[in-house]
């Protein structure tokens, strides 16, 4: 057992380490689950692909949604399927890695011959899959809240956009809480950048002031520098559009440094990753959000959904918005398939165009606007409580996706595939 002496080979070792680190990235991509075999079954099932992150830093958004999609398909099959055919899911774990979204979307459309893809959590993963869906002439149901503006008949957004979420959240914070001076923190990719623009726009339109906007790459865990800057700027409220597991540290560090008793904290993303279930009561209490679904909604539909979800998944904890998004996405797609009388993407797209696709779901009525393929829904302002859940403060009925409607008209331009951005500086 002899040792080469330390003086030699430092540079060599460095090269080894760096090469290995690079190789780790490559091989991690190739060691992936290649999906199930496309075993065509009797009765010609309708196949949908579900591409979500079961692992990796973004999985906090996907874990419940994977179950929500499965539960919706299970309910559809138990009630006789769609158009007399069973529905089958091909699940792909995109592992919080956009390159896998591309690979699996191609697999799903080429090999599985999926009639629709449900999935994508981040805007970057959606933008990776959208051109692939175009190329194969298919249809993507994107079940997530996002920055809005995607104008594409092969894309359906079933979650909230800023005009629904932020137009409820920010005026509430400014008018009800009197918090005008604002500090914005957002994740450093397209969602964060565009959402930050919207936040600034809406804060200023409501007579507020934005003192600073900062962006954070998804792997940042140390928020000490920005917490010092926030205290220096002394805003009334901090808006967070932070994303993913690493950024959850912000809520812990904010509470142990500044404290929500001294400064308001509102967020466009908090809660959708069920962050409150991983934080202590003190860390989660008092964060203000705008949402289209929380477990605590006091309606029979919401209560029975939460109950069924827990029975279906065998998990007894908080379900939350993104679990429900998976369910509503599949149910809206199923309604379109029924009205089209055909599961093929082009027939479903024609049905979507009618503007008559809707689902009376756990969070109220969802209906898809035929001009934009975005969804009108009820929006609720809620605040984190110390039981790992949210208390409702105020509700807004049937909010349309106004921002996207302003820029997008698929009736007039059916071949549009642009993502429009808000026109602010």
């Amino acid at each position: 057992m002899s040792f080469t002496h330390g003086q030699e080979g430092r540079g060599g070792m460095l090269r080894c380490v760096l090469t290995a680190l690079a190789a780790m990235g490559l091989a991690a991509a190739s060691l992936t689950d290649a999906g199930q075999d496309a075993a065509a079954q009797e009765g010609h099932p309708i196949v949908i692909a579900n591409i979500l992150d079961r692992s990796g830093g973004l999985n906090i958004y996907s874990l419940k949604q994977i179950q929500g999609v499965a539960m919706a398909v299970d309910e559809i099959n138990k009630s006789g399927g769609l158009l007399g055919r069973p529905v089958e899911i091909r699940f792909y774990d995109s592992q919080s890695d956009n390159t896998l979204n591309a690979q699996y979307a191609t697999n799903a459309l080429l090999r599985d011959k999926a009639d629709a893809i449900h999935g994508g959590i981040t805007s970057s993963s959606r933008e990776v899959m959208r051109p692939i869906v175009q190329r194969f002439g298919s249809l993507l149901f994107y079940n997530a809240l996002y920055e809005g503006g995607v104008c594409d008949r092969r894309h359906v957004s079933t979650g909230m956009v800023p005009a629904q979420q932020l137009e409820a959240l920010i005026p509430y914070v400014i008018n009800e809480k009197g918090a005008r001076k604002s500090y914005i923190l957002a994740a450093d990719y397209n969602y964060g950048h565009i959402t930050a623009k919207w936040m600034k726009n809406i804060v200023e339109a409501n007579g507020g002031e934005v003192v600073n906007i900062e962006f954070f790459p998804l792997d940042v865990t140390n928020f000490a520098p920005v917490l010092a800057r926030i205290q220096e700027a002394a805003p009334d409220v901090v808006y967070s559009a932070l994303v993913g597991g690493a950024h959850m540290g912000f809520y812990r560090q904010f509470e142990s440094t500044v404290g929500k008793d001294n400064m308001l904290l509102a967020s466009s993303t908090y809660g959708v990753g069920r962050e409150q279930t991983e934080l202590s009561p003190e860390e989660g209490r008092g964060i203000i959000i705008a949402t289209s679904f929380v477990d605590g909604l006091d309606t029979p539909a919401a209560k029975s959904f939460v109950e069924n979800f827990k029975a279906f998944s065998g998990e007894d904890d908080y379900v939350g918005e993104y679990g429900e998004y998976g369910y509503r996405g599949v149910m809206l797609w199923a309604d379109a398939v029924r009205k089209a009388g055909d599961a093929s993407p082009d027939a479903v797209i024609m049905a979507l165009k009618s503007g008559e696709i809707s689902f009376d779901g756990p969070g109220g009525l969802y209906s898809i606007d035929g001009k934009t393929n975005h969804t009108t829904m009820d929006i609720h302002i809620a605040v984190g409580n110390d039981k790992g859940s949210f208390d409702l403060l105020q509700s807004f009925s049937q909010q349309p996706p106004l921002d996207t409607q302003l820029v997008c008209d698929l009736h007039a331009n059916p071949d549009d595939t642009t993502q429009y951005e808000p026109e602010v500086q």
Partner: protein
């Protein structure tokens, strides 16, 4: 004026302490033992995870932290006995083997503990400095980082065990000829390095959380720090951590976290270009 100086000092010390904590275990395993341990990030992750699990089960946080370090140390010893001990001196082979270990650990944790983020709260509150308030836990973290480094230095320099370890790492054949059970020394040193990494994860978990893939956030920084430190693993780690932490703390506070990280990597590149053998090259007789 005092509070501005204090907040700068805090930012810089906090940043230095993170660099120290994430590279301590690697300074032992890679710096002293010359094992390129690509599972270092996963040892940190295991420490964070075990600490969160223990604290979640009702064990007091400040007992959970050392316990988590101890458990990861045992995991390290098992890994050493099963894999690493056959590979000493074979740099590329240890690299592949430890990488395999890292994949195995991530897979095992995802399978048995689930892929979600875990954490544990701490309730030490904060202290205020004029306009600023500072989390007491992060001050404690700074103290712990420096205390650990100092303790490690003293053990290596002042104790008989430290002397035996250094002898073995310097010349295993000679140490064996002198009657030292080098096999056992290698095993315990590897376990000790793993325990330090586990302790780091456990110390960080109340602020940063734990998830199966978190190792990737730290591993590159840890290697850059230890490599830039040069042939004296502990002095080098302190020097490189201080340099990187100072830059990161000041730049991130003055501008943004992104620029902070960029400037650290930039300085690391310059450093390795002009001092390819690390900042402690040419210093002798220390650790």
């Amino acid at each position: 004026m005092f509070e501005v100086v204090a907040i700068y000092a805090y930012q810089i010390l906090f940043s230095i302490s993170i660099f120290i904590l994430i590279s301590l275990g690697l300074a032992v395993i890679f710096g002293m033992m010359k094992v390129i341990n690509l599972a270092h990030g996963e040892f940190i992750m295991l420490g964070a995870l075990f600490c969160a699990q223990l604290a979640g089960a009702g064990v007091p946080l400040f007992l959970s932290i050392p316990l988590a370090g101890l458990i990861v140390g045992l995991v390290g010893i098992v890994g050493e006995r099963l894999v690493i001990r056959y590979l000493y001196g074979r740099v590329l082979d240890t690299l592949l083997a430890t990488w395999g270990m890292s994949l195995l650990i991530v897979g095992a944790v995802t399978t048995f503990f689930g892929p979600q983020t875990a954490s544990t709260p701490q309730d030490l509150g904060n202290i205020s400095l004029g306009t600023f308030s500072i989390s007491v836990y992060s001050l404690l973290m700074i103290l712990l980082a420096f205390a650990l480094l100092a303790a490690l230095y003293l053990v290596w320099r002042m104790t008989r065990a430290g002397l035996i370890v250094r002898t073995t790492m310097q010349n295993a054949a000679m140490a064996q000829a002198l009657g030292i059970d080098t096999d056992r020394v290698f095993m315990l040193t590897f376990g000790f390095g793993a325990a330090l990494a586990g302790l780091t994860g456990a110390i960080l978990v109340p602020l940063f959380g734990a998830s199966p893939t978190m190792g990737a956030f730290y591993i590159a920084k840890a290697f850059v720090t230890v490599i830039a430190g040069g042939p004296l693993p502990l002095t080098g780690t302190l020097a490189a951590s201080s340099l990187f932490g100072m830059i990161d703390g000041a730049v991130a506070y003055l501008t943004t976290s992104v620029l902070g990280e960029i400037s650290v990597l930039f300085v690391a590149i310059l450093l390795l270009r002009f001092l390819p053998k690390g900042v402690t090259r040419g210093l002798k007789g220390r650790v």
